[in-house]
């Protein structure tokens, strides 16, 4: 397996705004890599640097082993891109745009083009100005997904799609993964990435705060517990002083909290002593993970940084 995307210490500023602040990102061949972060975290800037549209101030960028700033056009033969803000020529039809983009880039998978148009329920004869936002998004998606490019850079690709079309997108992406294509999928929708990605990089304020296989990340994190106990007397106090317990909520006999791996024996012991009646425990969703990471970051960040 070889590395398709690699950035080290990537830095990019626009005037006094720091968009990327030492970003490290590694994407291996054949993986669907989730690139997660809130709006303004630097996801789109990263993709534009990877495309050679923006020049990094410092740090290194490699795409398919080459420097995207120097070899942009060559690299783009093997890269398909869906921009975060899809803008198409109002006078061209959707079908024309799909053909144009792929002819300018390289090759097109004709069969997939036809099947995607059908599955996305997209009328290719409409002029782009007449499309709704969701339909413009579909045009850009069909153009990228029907390409034969081995690398796909997708910037918030499902924005504006309804749930049905979202499913079509997921199915297609799984097909592409099965073919061994490499996908960098940026999103602020965690469930989207959770279902599709093998690996995830979480970015905040231009820096990667967490990166790795999803399974490893969950292991690092807490278990969410939802229990019913016979006697809740004093349990709130006991749990609150137990190690590694967070987000405690006690309502009558119902107890909810999240516990880190080290705190689990103590927590389960306390619950047992109070006459446990039912217990649901689950690994944290990416959502929980995400919120936790930000809570930690914000708590440790100096106050000045959060000021506008």
């Amino acid at each position: 397996m070889s590395t398709v995307i690699e950035t080290r210490g990537l830095r990019k500023t626009f005037g006094s705004t720091v968009a990327l602040d030492g970003l490290d990102l590694t994407v291996e061949q054949g993986e669907v890599h989730g690139f997660l972060g809130p709006n303004g975290a630097g996801k789109s800037t990263t993709l534009r640097v990877l495309l050679g549209l923006l020049r990094a101030d410092s740090g290194t960028v490699r795409l398919l082993g080459a420097d995207p700033w120097a070899d942009a056009a060559q690299l783009h033969r093997r890269t398909a891109y869906v921009p975060g803000d899809v803008a198409l020529w109002p006078n061209l039809s959707g079908g024309e745009v799909i053909d144009l983009i792929n002819r300018l880039r390289g090759g097109l998978d004709e069969r997939r083009r036809a099947s995607l148009l059908e599955r996305f329920d997209l009328d290719p004869t409409k002029k782009c100005r007449a499309y709704s936002k969701g339909n413009r998004q579909k045009v850009a998606l069909v153009a990228a997904l029907a390409s034969d490019a081995p690398v796909l850079l997708l910037d918030e690709p499902t924005a504006g799609l309804d749930p049905l079309m979202d499913q079509v997108f997921r199915d297609t992406l799984r097909e592409l993964r099965a073919e061994g294509r490499t996908v960098l999928l940026s999103s602020h929708i965690l469930s989207e990435v959770e279902n599709l990605s093998d690996h995830v990089t979480i970015i905040r304020a231009g820096r990667a705060v967490q990166s790795g296989a999803l399974s490893d990340m969950r292991h690092l994190s807490h278990t969410v517990i939802d229990a019913q106990v016979a006697s809740a007397d004093g349990i709130a106090h006991e749990l609150a002083s137990a190690p590694g317990v967070e987000g405690l909520l006690v309502e009558g006999g119902r107890v909810r909290c999240s516990v880190d791996p080290a705190g689990l024996p103590t927590t389960l012991g306390i619950l047992g002593r109070h006459g446990i009646q039912s217990l649901v425990s689950r690994p944290p969703s990416l959502e929980d993970l995400f919120l936790r990471l930000y809570r930690d970051e914000r708590a440790s960040a100096p106050l000045a940084e959060s000021a506008p």
């Binding site: 549209l53 921009p83 020529w89």
Partner: protein, 531 residues
């Protein structure tokens, strides 16, 4: 919901967005008029000199075509505001179009109105706000001009009439743009339609004013740009002529509201036809795309310059019999020495060069709008080199402007040659005279390209440069500016053919400058971010 709900908010928003644009237009226009009036006063202190100059200017068909007739040669104001009266009416029309369009169809197309109308806005609020702001812009400019002319020494009541002609033209084109914005679905098409009406009005008035008497004269009355001339400010002040635009404007506006009430947001009355399902073979390269995007504008310009060329060619045939010695002197000052017909042609081609420079800038700056809209990001994320993308639009601008001058000179030759019976000979003189203007236009295009290469937003500075070149050429003599300042304009270097011989040095010099500018733009673009 009440149709005008939220009008106050929209009005404040529009005024805030235009707080620089409107005062700038008003100040520049009124200052240019007052300045040229003051300069004319200095130039012709006595009545006799003024009379002679006015008679000479009025006898030249080319001058009548461009600026209209001088109704009273003894009127100081008539001569002093002669050029700017007509030109200013055109500027005011464009100001009205710009303001109305950007607050209505352009906003709607960009989706900004969707944000706004989802709130508590009445259906008519945005259109009304755009119209009111445009009328304010027009009135402020006109009033300031009237005050300026009075301040430099012209009679107050006639100056008010002069300002009123601009105001009436501005209001007419405000109402017209309001209507067109309802019909077309894109703001580009809206601008195209209104600009075409302005151009046609100007040409129609020109033909009418040259024709002098009879049915031809009626053409001026059909032209919205002709009405200010017919008011005859400083030569009778026929206020009643203004009843025409003031009666027509409410009708246009009523039609605009009627269409607005009946259509959906984002839709036009003229429906959008479906496009092809697959791209044609020509749409496979950046060149094919640029051509597809630029073709409509070039076609519009081609039609306009062909028409203009045919009209001018038919005008010049009897120039020789019409001129007096004073006119000859006047024309020679503008166009250089030579046979009067040649002088006339060289004046026309130098004006055409300025107009076609407008095309060249707009065409080059398609790069800028492609980048701003995000279309460039789509193209440059394919295997398209930046150089190729830059070249595709720039080369179309250069080749397109050359083609426009070629078309115009062939059109002039055709209508001239068919009358004098020597088509081949006419082509031989007129076509080189037209083409010799091309390098100057290319310098302007190159300037736009170099500025765009430096930074996306910088490209528009080229428009300012063109206005500067225009003012240097039109008013430089009047203000007796020093020679080196006058020669800042590339058009001061182009040989005034056919009146003067074509020499290689200035042509090659201009070509070299143009090429260097285009290359600079390419090099700068390669080094900067695409945003």
């Amino acid at each position: 919901m009440r149709p005008y709900a939220g009008l106050g908010t929209m009005l404040r928003l529009a005024l805030r967005r235009d707080r620089v644009l409107i005062p700038l237009w008003a100040l520049i226009l009124s200052a240019v008029v007052a300045g040229s009036v003051a300069a004319t006063l200095d130039l012709y202190p006595d009545l006799a000199g003024r009379r002679a100059a006015a008679l000479a200017a009025d006898a030249a068909p080319a001058a009548r075509f461009m600026y209209g007739p001088i109704h009273d040669p003894s009127s100081l104001g008539g001569l002093a505001t002669w050029k700017m009266g007509t030109m200013g009416a055109v500027f005011i029309a464009f100001l009205a179009m710009t303001v109305v369009r950007r607050h209505t169809r352009a906003d709607e197309e960009a989706g900004r109105l969707e944000l706004v109308t989802a709130g508590l806005l009445g259906k008519r609020a945005t259109l009304t706000a755009g119209v009111i702001v445009a009328v304010i812009a027009v009135l402020v400019t006109s009033l300031l001009t009237a005050v300026g002319n009075t301040a430099v020494g012209l009679p107050a009541s006639s100056s008010l009439a002069f300002g009123a002609t601009w105001a009436a033209v501005g209001i007419f084109f405000t109402a017209l743009t309001a209507l067109v914005a309802q019909l077309t679905q894109s703001s580009r098409a809206c601008a195209g339609v209104v600009s075409a009406v302005i151009g046609a009005s100007y040409a129609l008035r020109g033909v009418g004013d040259v024709s002098g008497q009879g049915w031809g004269r009626a053409l001026s009355w059909l032209s919205p740009i002709g009405w200010p001339v017919e008011v005859r400010p400083y030569a009778g002040d026929r206020w009643w002529v203004l009843l025409i635009p003031l009666a027509l404007s409410p009708l246009l506006l009523a039609a605009a509201y009627a269409f607005q009430d009946r259509r959906d947001l984002g839709e036009g009355i003229i429906p959008t036809r479906p496009g092809p399902e697959r791209a044609s073979d020509s749409l496979s390269t950046p060149w094919g795309l640029a051509w597809r995007l630029q073709r409509p504008m070039l076609a519009g310009w081609a039609a306009a310059v062909t028409f203009l060329g045919l009209v001018l060619g038919s005008l010049v045939t009897n120039v020789d019999q019409m001129v007096t010695p004073q006119t000859r002197q006047f024309l020679e000052k503008l166009g250089g020495r030579g046979s009067i017909l040649d002088v006339f042609l060289s004046v026309e081609f130098s004006i055409a060069a300025l107009a076609v420079s407008g095309y060249a800038i707009a065409s080059v700056l398609r790069l800028s709008s492609e980048e701003a809209s995000g279309h460039a990001e789509v193209v440059l994320s394919t295997a398209t080199e930046r150089r190729a993308w830059y070249a595709s639009h720039t080369v179309i601008a250069l080749a397109g402007s050359a083609a426009l001058l070629l078309l115009m000179s062939v059109a002039v030759s055709l209508s001239l040659g068919l009358q004098n019976g020597d088509l081949a000979g006419t082509l031989g003189t007129v076509v080189p005279a037209g083409l010799v203007q091309v390098p100057g236009i290319w310098v302007v295009a190159g300037l736009a390209a170099a500025l765009f290469g430096g930074a996306r937003r910088l490209g528009t500075v080229a428009w300012g440069a063109l206005v500067l070149f225009l003012l240097l050429g039109e008013l430089g003599d009047l203000f007796s500016l020093p020679e080196p300042v006058m020669r800042l304009s590339p058009f001061a270097h182009a040989p005034r053919a056919p009146a003067e011989a074509i020499t290689a040095t200035p042509v090659l010099g201009l070509l070299a400058v143009a090429l260097a500018l285009v290359a600079t733009g390419a090099a700068l673009l390669q080094r900067r971010d695409v945003t």
